[in-house]
Symmetry: D2
Subunit: 257 residues, 4 copies
């Protein structure tokens, strides 16, 4: 199967480019399924039932998220009703929502997992332990497994990639909003990239108006952030997975403006 | 002028590949000057007078560093004697060493600045204020100015890039040890990249043995780190600067194994 | 002179107890001037022109603050007009508001300084350097100088106390909302205490409803905080300063419910 | 039963005062058992088999620790052999050592638990979940349960206290090395104090030479720390627990120089 995984979609400009381009990309790139990280899809901070459904309406198969998942309160009562919207698996027991989903395309089952790192982030449960537990269940159903590891520190992301090698089809990093140039197939067949970047205005600081972020750094006074609008780019990777083995055949950065 | 800027050199394997390749690269790429980040050149943590001189002996023009600058105590009494070795400019007043240097090639003066970010790092003095002050001095001598901004958070690095746009020739990020794919010339002529990656063993976690880092993440018990040795890659960028204007003409990722 | 310094006033319950008790305390304890930390006076997060004026209306002489100073946006355009309201001195140049004030009681001049720590907090300018600069100016006017050092880490607070010893009349810590039992006169005459605690509902977690904070720790989902209302206690210290030398004669914890 | 719980013992001066005074205190205060936090007992950083055995040799019943537990490598192969030495319970599965112990005095069983917070600290497993699991086991044996919660943030410590109220005999905080003045019996019978302080040289910054810590704050250059030697004080609390109910009758700060 061929997957397109799209980096953090930032507000309306991000949703717009996804909506406009996704059908053509699916066709031209021969994509079987699309995953997007949607944690910034609502005004740059958080995700709502509406932005979730707008993205799913574009034909997105699964939406992953990260630390911004709860920024918009409306998502809390909604999340359990929408199985295609994930939050990091390693939230503590009892938290609404799911961290994984198994879907089916033409008789082939495939799964998506969403986990969060902890270095410079909230102290969630251990993502390594959480992965081990979840794979025990998922591996019974399929070995086509895609992981969005939402994390800050390169050390934690790369370590997590090695930890997954040979156990899942791919690990793609999100959260920094900057694409890295280290995509590769690890020795045991897991495709890996430290970060797939963001989908939104690149004439900005990680999708937000430059002036606002600069003001924050220069004064240390909190600022209301607004989503930037210029130079919209869609960023992601295309991962081709062998249906039989679940191992990756290729991983390619994909970018479009 | 054409500059080669090389990302964090990790221990002996990193120094070795620099030593072996640098002359050929200078020639084939028509490089006028070479800058390397050396904060991990001594056993992966810190830099010593010996590794400094080994790197300079290879024909490196300037060595920049970052948060690991003081890991090896021997560097403290030495640093003031070696003007080609920089530590971040925004250490408080009174700290040994320099954060900038002006050199001359064939009558053309050019400068290097080294600054550190503060997000998820030590609370140094403000890098934005420190830059402003230093540029007042340096701009009187030359407008060919290369900045190594050693920082963790992509927001701080990108914001710093925009802040510098039109005032320096380039801002290259270091510290994460992972190359990003966002190299560009900003609208007012400053070349920018979020991180230029590392020079060392890439079969590793940011240059360190994978097993050790994984053990740390799985147990939270501190581990003695050793430098990894397999899959040595040199990473950096080549920046071409217009001698008259000090603006950048091009920035290109450069990688060699 | 005898000073009463009151710890972080939390919302309406905190303002209420100050309003009700302050006159009687001034009289019974023979207090010459009162300082309160007001960073949580507006709904537990931030301070407004209204809560500032309510506190000043109770006869408070100076209001200090800390990291929550900007939580309520209305304070930004107001702060420059109210010299008795301080924000940490070590915000970068250009930030509205002042970090120190000199007042006069019966011909005696006395000063208050407000600084913030940086460990586990925002990277403001160095509080040690900021203190040095400010004392050069203030020492020309008076040697009765009271410092509110708003900080998290005990190491930074105690180190700051020693750094100030003999140079100011007292250093009282704020921010943790828990009174410490280490009040003392340092060898060169500076009164010191790591934290003077808070003024608000103590049947709570640092002034906020226990259920809300617990929910946050158990789920890692952000929660809207509301100010707790039971078991209201006013906490602070009384510091007696020798008018001639500016050295402290005594420091005593003061608590009242 | 009457328990003496002693705050972080700092290096040789800390061990010395414990050794000299403990017998007399036990007698005069009618103490049934003594617990000390030993994470700084070896040179200020960590604990060794030798300092463990020295402390136990003084008649200490249980040694708790915290984030510095692994600073001295020798403790790793030793810790499983010494059941009276605890490390925080919420280290991940598979980590050497134990986080709780059950002992017997004159037919009465009693237990000690050691947990660590996570705010501004390493991302261990959730201390709230870890407590719940452990209490299920321990409650079958005894309801006299003493908890050392080693944590930085007052919010996390106080929240943990409330979470434990009525389920354990007492929660005492450690780690900040500064005694707080908020000891109390919570409504359902759990004794609580945010921090019991340290046992060592108080003419210092949290037990370390002031000059060294100040140099660190002023220059941001790491410094080798040495244990301070002047003004040695032993700090702790005495908690009286009802043998039948496991509820606390009293908690009193205890200090001796
Ligand atoms: Fe994001
Ligand atoms: Fe994120
Ligand atoms: Fe580095
Ligand atoms: Fe670094
Ligand atoms: Fe506060
Ligand atoms: Fe505060
Ligand atoms: Fe300690
Ligand atoms: Fe500790």
């Amino acid at each position: 199967m061929r997957f397109l995984i799209i980096g953090d979609v930032i507000g309306k400009p991000g949703r717009k480019i996804v909506g406009e381009k996704i059908k053509a990309i699916r066709k031209s790139q021969n994509i079987d399924a699309v995953i997007v990280n949607g944690e910034n899809s609502a005004g740059g901070l958080g995700i709502t039932p509406e932005t979730t459904e707008e993205l799913l309406g574009f034909g997105i198969d699964v939406i992953t998220t990260g630390n911004h998942i709860w920024d918009k309160k409306e998502i809390l009562p909604y999340i359990d009703s929408q199985l295609r919207l994930l939050r990091p698996l390693n939230y503590p027991p009892g938290v609404p929502g799911n961290g994984s989903v198994i879907l089916k395309n033409n008789q082939r089952k495939w799964a998506v997992l969403n986990l969060s790192g902890r270095v410079f982030m909230s102290p969630l449960d251990c993502p390594f332990q959480a992965l081990d537990k979840e794979l025990e269940i998922i591996k019974k159903e399929t070995n086509i497994i895609l992981v969005d590891f939402h994390a800050e520190a390169t050390s934690e992301k790369i370590a997590f990639g090695w930890y997954c090698d040979g156990r899942v089809s791919c690990v793609v990093g999100t959260h920094t909003h900057v694409v890295t140039a280290d995509e590769k197939i690890l020795p045991s067949g897991t495709a890996y990239i430290t970060d797939i970047g963001m989908t939104g205005a690149h004439h900005s600081v990680i999708g937000i108006e430059t002036k606002q972020i600069l003001s924050r750094f220069l004064t240390q006074i909190p600022v209301r952030y607004t989503v930037a609008k210029e130079n919209i780019i869609l960023n992601g990777v295309i991962v081709e997975v062998d249906d039989q083995t679940g191992k990756s055949v290729s991983i390619t950065r994909f970018s479009l403006s």
